[in-house]
Symmetry: C2
Subunit: 305 residues, 2 copies
């Protein structure tokens, strides 16, 4: 029961990639994904397939990237929390999804599911799952925030009713910009080092996360994609995307580890928004919809209370 099965994980992630791309193309109605398969030449081997949709009518930029990399020597930066694994052979497989919609009333979102396995000489391999999904609205809607977290809780409850509270808190803590004193968005789920000892059971968590992501996101897209907007909302969206850039380049561990360990730059930085503004010391007008985002949506709270 607890023997890890990397091949099954890879097969699942590749199917999730294909299904996700198809569902996003259907939701967009116009944009099409382009597949970009790549090979990893340094630090062991492996490769991936980065699928990019650009300039859709709903999604300005969407990336769905699969990777499977392996090596004989786990880099020290990857084993900081597990020093006993330094220098061990490893395998890592993951799928990352990032969606930057065109309409500012449709939130940006991100999902990641990953599996890690390290060989330990003469012992059973060590393995764990990680991942989650989170939502970054520009304009807040209570209905959307509650529905998002409701579906996130369903994804967890299917496995263990104690998980949502922990993963939700992890997510609030992780997607946070200390230099702004500000959350990146309204959160969702984040977990790492997940291993209860039962591979099959833990793999079900990964599948549940993968299957609930678009269930949580696409209804929000449907509700907001035709919301009228103008220059003001577009400008605010590009400005808020600047926070996304700040978070991903200054704090996101996956991004920094990837860039610093010789990962494939374009596949790592596919998370960055297609267009961004930076405005010196900008503040929303009191009482505006933009201020509501800061006051009502970004501060961490229990959306299911």
């Amino acid at each position: 029961m607890s023997t890890p099965d990397l091949d099954s994980v890879i097969e699942y992630l590749q199917a999730l990639q294909a299904n996700t791309c198809q569902a996003l193309e259907d939701a967009d109605g116009q944009g099409r994904f382009i597949d970009d398969a790549w090979v990893r030449e340094e630090g062991g081997g492996g490769g991936g397939n980065t699928c990019i949709l650009r300039g859709g009518q709903v999604f300005e930029h969407a990336g769905v990237g699969f990777s499977h990399v392996f090596g004989q020597q786990l880099p020290p930066s990857a084993s900081r929390e597990r020093p006993e694994l330094a220098g061990c052979g490893f395998q890592a497989a993951g799928l990352s999804i990032i969606i930057h919609p065109l309409n500012p009333y449709v939130p940006t979102t991100h999902c990641n599911v990953r599996f890690f396995m390290a060989d330990r000489n003469g012992q059973e391999p060590l393995w764990w799952f990680g991942g989650g999904f989170d939502l970054t609205p520009f304009y807040g809607f209570n209905e959307d925030a509650v529905a998002w977290h409701h579906t996130a809780r369903q994804a967890c409850d299917a496995i263990d009713e104690g998980l949502y509270a922990t993963f939700k808190k992890n997510c609030d803590e992780y997607f946070y910009l200390p230099h702004r004193g500000e959350a990146r968005g309204i959160g969702g789920l984040f977990f790492d080092d997940y291993n209860t000892g039962n591979f099959e059971q833990d793999f079900l968590l990964l599948k549940s996360i993968g299957e609930h992501f678009l269930k949580a996101y696409l209804p929000i897209v449907s509700r907001r994609k035709d919301h009228p907007y103008g220059e003001r909302q577009r400008t605010f969206q590009l400005y808020r995307r600047g926070r996304y850039v700040e978070f991903n380049l200054v704090y996101d561990r996956g991004t920094l580890f990837g860039l610093q360990s010789g990962g494939r730059t374009e596949s790592i930085l596919m998370s960055l928004p297609p267009q961004v503004r930076f405005d010196y010391d900008w503040h929303p007008q009191p009482g505006s919809e933009e201020e509501t985002l800061y006051k009502e949506f970004l501060p961490a709270r229990d959306w299911l209370a």
Copy 2:
């Protein structure tokens, strides 16, 4: 002779700020700087004055920021290279200049001059100067690159004819994106920990850097600001600005130290470009002007050979 005189440095930096803003307003002909004075409340005291010009006819965004901060406890991250200073009282004063022009044929530029002083119980204070200036063209012109480095060498030669080669090499090494295998621009000067033991003499270096910066930059602005351009050049400019964002947020020590040590976020991030694009796996067309930047200008070379 070697007693450090912080007040003189501050006075010089403030005058340099005023003169720089005036000269940039004159060169722009329309844009005006707005002064934003701020007070540092955490970690000791001090403050600064951040001057921002936005939406000029030549300069899309320019920032000229002075700061003077002090504290009783030098943060460990600031004393990593000098562990004997951890916990010492310190004073730091600096001026940063960043210019993002509108016309893609006018290069982006950056200049920084700074002074640092640490108290050591019962001993003379330790002090040093740092700074430099560098140029980031979107479209390369040999004439501009040679003139830029010629003036950079003049700034150094006025003090010591051995400095240019060292500071130029430092600059090439510092403003480099390892994950791209690419320089940020065509370099210039970069130095840190500069102390020959003679404060007055070393202060002359700072003044020389400060005085040669606009002498090097403004003639390039004059030559290129009316160069015709279209959508293609503007798009390339916004795309290349993405590299500027990557460098500043992933690698720039001043930016990261500032953000992580509770510095004033808006004054630190005034360096970011006003508008930016990120495009997945974009490459210039063979034989294009854009490719020439990558092939002829970004690889480090001796422009004065």
